[in-house]
């Protein structure tokens, strides 16, 4: 898998509510460029929305990186979210449907995992969190 595309990776700061909207728009633009179907566009945009908001709310803000990827004939969108927040102490719990340390529905992490093709989570208590997702064209 290689990064590609005329437009290079786009880096966006996540520090406020409106940044989440901006990330969502960047992911939607990228998804349209690689010609994901409407359903897959909506899925990856929604996943990005969840992860960006987790970065903001639980991670205390951070950085999103959005880019096109190519694997043979497939093209895709990769979005990764990085923060230097508290990290996730119990991954099993965090990835369980309906568990939230706050007052959320607790579906953001587990749900976005189901919305994408690749879901990688790297976290360490006290050492921040990075989540990377990819959605491929079919």
């Amino acid at each position: 898998m290689t990064t590609a595309g005329s437009a290079g990776p786009e880096e966006l700061r996540i520090a406020a509510d409106e940044d989440v909207v901006r990330v969502r728009q960047a992911v939607r633009n990228c998804a349209q460029r690689v010609r994901l179907s409407l359903v897959d566009q909506t899925k990856v945009v929604t996943a990005a929305s969840e992860l960006a908001r987790n970065t903001l709310i639980h991670g205390g803000g951070g950085l999103a990186r959005v880019e096109e990827v190519v694997d043979g004939r497939r093209r895709g969108v990769r979005a990764s979210f990085h923060d230097e927040g508290p990290g996730i102490p119990d991954l099993t719990l965090a990835l369980a449907d309906g568990w939230s340390s706050g007052s959320g529905l607790g579906l953001g992490l587990s749900g976005s995992r189901r919305l994408v093709d690749v879901f990688e989570l790297d976290t360490e208590p006290g050492g921040g969190t990075t989540v990377t997702v990819v959605k491929w064209t079919r």
């Binding site: 509510d17 909207v21 939607r28 566009q41 945009v45 959320g104 529905l105 953001g108 919305l115």
Partner: protein, 284 residues
């Protein structure tokens, strides 16, 4: 550096000695570059202030110290912001800064003291940095203006309409961030009371994505409305949104959903005791 050393910083000396002339030429050059979009009088005051703050910075830079750009930057910030509001392009604003370089080059070009040459080079890159800074300010100011406008739009674009006696509708459009969803939902609850309605239709045909936060706002509104004795119907869930909601794992429970606004309206009217019947064609 000892106090009785020769003043070795020639450029700073020149800037001080030729202040009035340089500022005047700078203003003339900028007016020319801006093709009359600004008058000399307007520019003169700003330029003079900037020039006064610039000279000690040039001195400090020549001395090899890290000069404090704070005052210069705040002057530039004010200048750039005013220009944005007046509709100047970012290049037009940056040109005001760059044209000072030209004026200083003209003053020093006939002098071939290598030390002065180095000082002019440093001066030039200082101004380059400040010129770029005006671009940054421009971008930031634009963003602020856009945010302001979208907040105003937020207020304007949340129409809660009464479509029948006892029935309200809110069409949600575009990107729903949490602020917007919350505003809409609050307005809806208020309108239910004001109009004495007991049914509401939340139409999401125009919504691009429903994530957990939007869903949570929707769910909370429906529950709150119920506590107030009103029933909500969510209509216009498009296929891609439906599939995403299912994959996310959001459950809408016993909330009534309808494919289209028309279906939702028919449902609401029936509950109001109104039957919509298609008139039979006349028989001949």
């Amino acid at each position: 550096m000892t106090a009785d050393a020769e003043p070795v910083h020639r450029l700073a000396g020149l800037l001080r000695a030729n202040g009035d002339t340089l500022v005047r030429r700078w203003v003339d050059t900028a007016v020319e570059e801006l093709r009359g979009r600004s008058t000399g009088q307007e520019l003169e005051r700003d330029f003079r202030e900037f020039y006064t703050a610039l000279t000690p910075v040039v001195e400090e830079t020549a001395r090899g110290g890290a000069a404090d750009l704070g005052e210069l930057k705040s002057l530039l910030e004010e200048y750039s912001r005013t220009r944005v509001k007046q509709g100047f392009t970012p290049s037009e604003t940056a040109v005001s800064v760059f044209s000072l370089k030209r004026v200083v080059f003209e003053l020093t070009e006939s002098d071939d003291d290598p030390k002065l040459f180095r000082e002019v080079l440093a001066f030039s890159s200082l101004l380059d940095g400040l010129g770029l800074f005006t671009f940054e300010i421009y971008a930031r100011a634009r963003e602020e203006i856009i945010n302001e406008q979208s907040e105003q739009l937020l207020e304007l674009t949340t129409p809660v309409v009464k479509i029948w006696e006892g029935v309200l509708a809110v069409p949600l459009v575009g990107t729903l961030d949490s602020a917007r969803t919350q505003v809409v939902m609050e307005k809806l609850l208020e309108a239910l009371i004001e109009t004495g309605s007991d049914q509401a239709i939340i139409d999401i045909t125009g919504v691009l994505a429903v994530d957990t936060q939007v869903a949570q706002h929707l769910l909370k509104t429906v529950v709150a409305a119920r506590l107030m004795g009103a029933e909500c119907v969510v209509s216009g869930i498009r296929p891609q949104i439906a599939q995403t909601i299912v994959a996310l794992g959001i459950e809408f429970g016993d909330i009534v959903t309808k494919a289209s606004l028309a279906d939702a309206l028919r449902h609401a009217l029936r509950r109001e005791g109104v039957d919509v019947v298609r008139q039979a064609g006349r028989t001949g």
